[in-house]
Every structure is written in C-alpha cells, then in structure tokens.
Amino acid sequence: MPTVQFTANLASQTAAPVCQVAGATVREALNAVFTQHPTLRSYVLDDQGAIRQHVVVFVDGTAITDRQKQADAVRPDSEIFVMQALSGG
C-alpha cells in the first residue's frame, strides 16, 4: 500500500501521522487518509477539493500535475509526500 507522509509543520497544527493506505491515485490515497483523520482534509485541500495553493504533493519525488482532481497514479509501493511550498513572510 502507498505511504503518505506530511510535513512536520502540518503535524504541529493537527494530527498528521504517517499512513499506509489503499489507493491507485493520489486522490484515492488522500481520501483514505482523510477518512481516518477528517480534520486533516481542509489543511491540504481547499473548499472545492483542489490542493491548496501553497501546498505541494510529491509522488516518488515528482510533484503531481493534477492539482484539481489529483488523478495522478500511484503504485502499491509509492511514497506520497505532502509538503508546504516556500512562501510567506
């Protein structure tokens, strides 16, 4: 099963443990995480289900391209990292 990890800065705001979840796409894997940790959803996705503007999701080291629907494929041994983009002041 793919592994999903979150930036430590997110873990300081809400529960965001490393998860191993089922899923063939990033959306499926994230939804599986959000089922276990519902509060986490709004920290990663905006109202309309897109990746937040200042959040980046990597699959095996490559940033996903479908930030709206997260249809990017993942393999059973993929590692998904949810990071924050560098921004702010």
Binding site: S42, D47, Q48, V55
Partner: protein, 371 residues
C-alpha cells in the same frame, strides 16, 4: 462590547494577543496561535465564548473557539463554499475579467446572531455564512451569493470583493445590514432569506460619471451604528464620510471632517448617536497619518463639527494606518482602543480625550475587540 471591559483581544499578523486591565492599568498577558494570522475574532458576550479565525499561510483558514477566554482552544468547522455545480457559470469580476473564486480566501467579519450560538460570518470573496451551532457547522447564504447584483461587486484593496461588516439590529435581530468592499450596503429583514441593496446618496469617485451614485459599486470601508439608536449609521467610505438617520436607506455626505475624510475605521457611541470616532489618514493614494501626526477624529454633534484628538498620540514622523476592524469602544462609550498596521495599540479611558500606548512592538494589527 460590554460595559467596564477588562479584556482586549487583538487579531494580528502573528497571532491572537490579549491584554488585560488590572488596578495598575492595561498590560499584555498572553498570546495564542503564535506566528499565524488572525484576521477576525469575536468575544461573544452572550455566553462568553471567544471565537477566532486563524489563517495559515499554507493550510488555509481554520475556525477555533475558546470556552475559557483564550486559555485553551478547540477547532470547529470553518465556513466553506459548497461544491460549485458544474452548470453554474462563473461570476466574472468586471475589473480584472477574472472569475470570482468559489472558495474561501479570508474570514473578514464575524457577529452574533439572534439565537444562542447563532453566528454570521462574512468572507472574501463575498460570501456570507450562517451557523446555528456556534460554528460546529456553517451554511452559505445562497440568496445573497446567487443575487445577480453580486456581478457588480469588485475588489478594493484586496483582489476580490469581501463582506467586512455585519450589523445585527438590536431591536429585531432578524434584520441585518452588511457592507461590502466594493459592493455597497445590503439589507435583509428576514434573517438572511432575501436581500436588498440600499444606500441612496452614497458617492463613488472611482467609477465613470453615470455610476457615481450606484449603490451596488460603493466602497464602504466600515459602517457602525449606535446600539441605542440603530437608525443612525456612520460610514467611513473610500472617498468620504457619510451619515444616515433612516437605517441606511438614505445618506448625507459629510464634508467638514477635520483633518481628513479618508480612513477605514469608525465607531459609534453605544448610547449617544451624536458621537462617533474615526481614525483618519491622508487619502486613498497616501495611506498614512495626516502630516505625520496621528489623531483620532471625534464628532459629538452628529457631524456638524469634528475635533482631532491627539493627546498621548505621536505627533511627528508617525506613519500609522488603522484598518477597518481595529477601533472598538466599550458599552459605556468611555474606553476606546485602536491598533495600527505598524504594531502599536493605544487605549483611552476618557472617550478619546487622551491615550496611552499599550505597546509599540506588536505585529500588524488586523482586528481588535473588547471582551
């Protein structure tokens, strides 16, 4: 607001900061959400709950509540736009020709409604949200979101239009007024089920001549009424000060402000509808204190005359600007506080006659309320 407040809550660029009045005076006592923006907060006088909108740069806006005046917090639901129906066309901002976003950008107004736990929340990009359970859940007020008049709203200082003021009529708490930058003043008499754009006589300098008095494109920076006389309303507008004595239907422009008719904040005396306070800046394109000398401007005769109140405020090389949510007055009309974009907060306990600086070392202040 309540009489004899002893607590002051500041929403800032770097967290929620509290000050408390003791026998020796006001002092800062605590911070929450350190490092995170707090654009709006509400100490709910009905049950003592303190609400805060907390805006993370990366992870969006969250909504928190404290049942112990800020000592501990629990996360509640944040207002969120429902999924956009696929067959719904975008509302295009006529200035930028860009679609108005259909997701929450910022919480910009928060007020107590009619029933216990009932809350109203205004947002950028122009959404009004309603909660009946203290923020455990929220519903978008679709009657306003779907009003065709929203297509005329535009951003002011922000990229997108936003609802920054919600007034709940103390005589009939199902009557609401909201103010939109830029979209004028809207009234509901049925607790938000239907809305009317009101405001005859408000004048905009920033549109073509035929639209100058269009109530739907006005930029009321802030409106305030006296809880004892809510038919009397003051408006600090983008290009002037306006006064209504009929609940917001008709407005008269005030031309004798001293030293300036530009600013963002306005507060009204809770009992005396003749008295109001403003914090002036120079003008639209020069948003600093007039002549480098900071003052609060007060009228005590319904706008016939204005006096600049300067005692205790810096009078040279002061570049403070005070945003629309950064001036508050207690229920007795005696204690006032205001906070600036350059991180100073001043408090007066004599109706503005003199001021003491609480701190000059704060982050930019976004909102300020007595609790």
């Amino acid at each position: 607001m309540k009489t004899m407040s002893t607590k002051l809550y500041l929403g800032t660029r770097k967290g929620l900061i509290e000050a408390e009045r003791s026998a020796t005076g006001w002092r800062i006592t605590r911070n929450s959400f350190l490092g995170v923006q707090v654009p709006m907060l509400l100490p709910d006088a009905r049950d003592g709950t303190l609400y805060a909108a907390v805006e993370h740069g990366h992870f969006g806006t969250k909504f928190h509540a404290s049942l112990d005046a800020g000592a501990s917090w629990e996360e509640r639901a944040c207002p969120a736009f429902p999924p956009k129906p696929e067959d719904t066309p975008d509302v295009v901002n006529f200035v930028s020709q860009q679609p108005i976003p259909w997701d929450l950008k910022k919480v910009w107004a928060l007020e107590a409604g009619a029933a216990p736990g009932e809350l109203w929340c205004g947002t950028l990009p122009g959404g009004l949200f309603h909660s009946l359970d203290g923020g455990a859940s929220w519903q978008l007020v679709e009657s306003l979101w779907n009003d065709p008049g929203r297509a005329n709203w535009m951003g002011g200082g922000a990229d997108w239009p936003g609802i920054h003021t919600i007034l709940v009529d103390p005589r009939n708490r199902h009557r609401l007024l909201i103010a939109v930058s830029c979209g004028g003043v809207w009234e509901s008499t049925d607790n938000g089920s239907s809305w009317t754009n009101i405001g005859s006589g408000i004048r905009a300098e920033y549109v073509p001549p035929e639209q100058v008095y269009d109530p739907g494109i006005q930029d009321p920076h802030r409106i305030a009424w006296s809880t004892a006389a809510p038919d009397t309303i003051w408006m600090q507008h983008h290009n002037g000060i306006f006064h209504s004595t009929d609940g917001g239907k008709n407005w008269r422009e005030i031309l004798n402000a001293n030293p300036s008719n530009f600013g963002f904040a306005v507060a009204m005396h809770p009992q005396d509808p003749q008295t109001a306070w403003f914090v002036p800046g120079i003008k639209d394109e020069l948003r600093v204190a007039c002549d480098g000398a900071l003052c609060v401007m007060r009228t005590r005769d319904g706008g016939q005359t204005f006096e600049p109140l300067r005692h205790g405020l810096p009078q040279e090389h002061a570049y403070h600007l005070v945003y629309r949510h950064c001036l508050d007055v207690t229920g007795d009309g005696r204690t006032l506080a205001f906070g600036s974009t350059t991180g100073s907060v001043w408090i007066s306990e004599n109706g503005g006659d003199s001021w003491d600086r609480l701190s000059a070392d704060l982050p930019p202040v976004y909102c300020l309320r007595f609790g």
